[in-house]
């Protein structure tokens, strides 16, 4: 009995250690993931979701119109930008800002929850485009999923507390699956 209590305590402490004080909402499936800045983050989220058993579609250029009449329950938006990615997609940061703002507005109007994600480390926090991407997505998110290496300077910890947005952190990419399972309440 004592061992079970001890184990439960350890698991609880471990779980709470990477969740901020604000309560995490439960996200529902199916989800759709897009990127604010055309980095490969959305692709990575989709692949991790697949492995975690969470139904998730990736649409890098998802628009507000695509959400109308859809059955998505969750919108995931990755933060961090790629110049090559925006070039590949034929877009730029201003257009991305416009698209994502409209998308999140429509998502909320249609009852979708918004999950902001920064999962590619400090290499997606190097310039003003990256900062703008975070500035757009973070305050409009219902919760955040953040890679520890993206938070080396404690920026996301500080900012999420300031905005009172719950955040879940993970260290290794392969641990992201566990965080996703927790967010979507998948056993």
């Amino acid at each position: 009995m004592f061992k079970k209590i001890l184990l439960l305590t350890v698991v609880t402490i471990f779980t709470l250690s990477f969740i901020t004080s604000a309560a995490l909402p439960v996200f529902e499936q199916p989800a759709v993931v897009t990127t604010c800045g055309q980095s490969p983050g959305a692709l990575m989220v989709k692949m991790i979701c697949q492995q975690a058993g969470v139904e998730c579609e990736q649409k890098d250029l998802l628009t507000a119109a695509d959400l109308e009449g859809s059955n998505y329950k969750t919108l995931i938006v990755t933060m961090g930008t790629s110049g090559k990615g925006m070039g590949a997609a034929g877009t730029n940061m201003n257009q991305e800002a416009e698209r994502i703002n409209a998308l999140i507005k429509t998502a909320k109007e249609n009852g979708l929850k918004v999950l902001g994600a920064h999962i590619e480390g400090m290499s997606r926090r190097v310039d003003e485009n990256d900062a703008k991407s975070i500035e757009i997505v973070m305050p409009q998110s219902d919760a955040l999923i953040i890679k520890e290496s993206s938070n080396e300077d404690g920026f996301f910890t500080e900012k999420s507390e300031e905005l009172d947005i719950p955040a879940i952190y993970f260290d290794k990419n392969m641990e992201m699956g566990e965080a996703v399972k927790e967010l979507f309440d998948v056993q």
Partner: protein, 390 residues
């Protein structure tokens, strides 16, 4: 001044100039004709040359070796090239490690060590590039030609006012008509470098290559660094490889980037567009290439340590971190070798029944521990029929 004195001054000047010309010409010739030794590894079943795939290249300065490592068992065919830009030594050294060490248990691996051979016969004297560099091995030092980014002007001259890429007609910088990574997919009757690219495309098509890898290095001031650039056909493989390598092998992460559809001439775009092969390009950091670097010598090339580049990092001017440990050649070569192996591993997971099994290629941690030269064999101990020259 009397006319006699003037004549003497002119004669002395002429003698000085001719002496300088002779000395530099001998130096340039020695560099251009220097041959690097490669010991064909256990799985090398055949060594062709580029001219075997496109006759006009045969016996020209561009006629580089093409190492075929064939398991004899059906599977995937990978093609790895180093030496696209010979001023990026981790690229040709990594390719050489593959050619000398890889054992193929399934599928086929094709390797070109000096893809743009002409560009390895010229350096950049105006930028104080060293002519040669040496790698310490277990049996002595191995000497390599340092090269340039562009094809030797002796082989391709003059440059146009504007380089118009074929077939997109995109206008690019004039000197990039000699940039092997701006001239894909090449042109049969095009410029020297375009013909070299055309020949490489013939290899990809004739050998039915499934996946093509182009090794590179980049300055830390450049945003596309420490990454895998992927054609859309290779996005899933690149994404998974970057996540796995960052988690499991590398101290500093490797990311991935999508190949822009509107940026032409690059391997990650054109090889994917003009063949059935998935095309990936790997980048490692090379502080030697940074414009803010200090003394430009072999030490910087191989150790990757530079206080000026480091200082630029402190001011947030770089896209990759650098500390007093720098970016030594072992780290850079290790990243290329491990990334290639990881891509193969993920390919195998995604393509059951059409795997490639590559063994005996050292990974990142092993290369850092043992050094790059540890994986090069002593030609003196080998049969002459296993020795090739680059």
């Amino acid at each position: 001044m009397s006319s006699k004195k003037l004549i003497i001054i002119k004669l002395l000047t002429a003698v000085l100039i001719i002496t300088a010309l002779v000395i530099s010409a001998r130096s340039f010739l020695a560099h251009r004709n220097y041959k690097e030794t490669v010991v064909a590894g256990p799985s090398v079943t055949e060594v062709k040359t580029l001219g075997d795939y496109f006759e006009p290249i045969k016996n020209t300065v561009a006629d580089c070796n093409i190492y075929i490592l064939d398991s004899g068992k059906p599977g995937a065919i990978f093609f790895v090239i180093g030496g696209t830009h010979p001023e990026e030594p981790a690229a040709n050294l990594s390719a050489e490690i593959l050619a000398e060490n890889a054992t193929l248990e399934k599928g086929k691996l094709i390797v070109a060590i000096r893809a743009n051979r002409s560009a390895s016969t010229v350096t950049r004297p105006g930028d104080a590039y060293p002519q040669f560099y040496t790698i310490k091995t277990d049996w002595g030092e191995k000497k390599y030609r340092m090269g340039d980014r562009w094809t030797n002007p002796l082989d391709s001259w003059p440059d146009p006012e504007v380089y118009v890429h074929y077939p997109s007609k995109q206008m690019l910088a004039y000197m990039d008509i000699r940039n092997f990574n701006r001239t894909w997919p090449g042109k049969k009757d095009g410029s020297f470098t375009e013909q070299v690219n055309y020949a490489f495309m013939q290899i990809i098509k004739q050998e039915k290559v499934d996946l093509f890898i182009d090794f590179h290095e980049a300055e830390l001031e450049y945003p596309v660094i420490s990454t895998i650039v992927a054609h859309e056909s290779g996005r899933n493989i690149a994404a998974m490889a970057s996540m796995m390598l960052t988690d499991m092998e590398f101290e500093k992460p490797i990311s991935m980037e999508f190949s822009p559809k509107s940026l032409h001439g690059l391997s990650h775009r054109e090889v994917g567009d003009y063949s059935d092969a998935i095309s990936l390009l790997f980048e490692t950091p090379e502080p030697f290439l940074d414009r803010v670097r200090g003394i430009t010598d072999e030490h910087l090339l191989l150790e990757g340590k530079d206080p000026f580049v480091q200082r630029a990092g402190e001011f947030g001017l770089l896209y990759e971190t650098i500390d007093e440990d720098g970016w030594p050649i072992e780290v850079r070569v290790g990243r290329h070798c491990s990334t290639a192996l990881m891509v193969a591993q993920i390919w195998n997971q995604m393509n059951p029944g059409k795997e490639i099994k590559i063994k005996n290629v050292p990974k990142y941690a092993e290369i850092i521990k043992n050094g790059v030269g540890h994986y090069f064999k002593n030609p003196a101990n080998m049969d002459s029929d296993r020795i090739y020259y680059e």
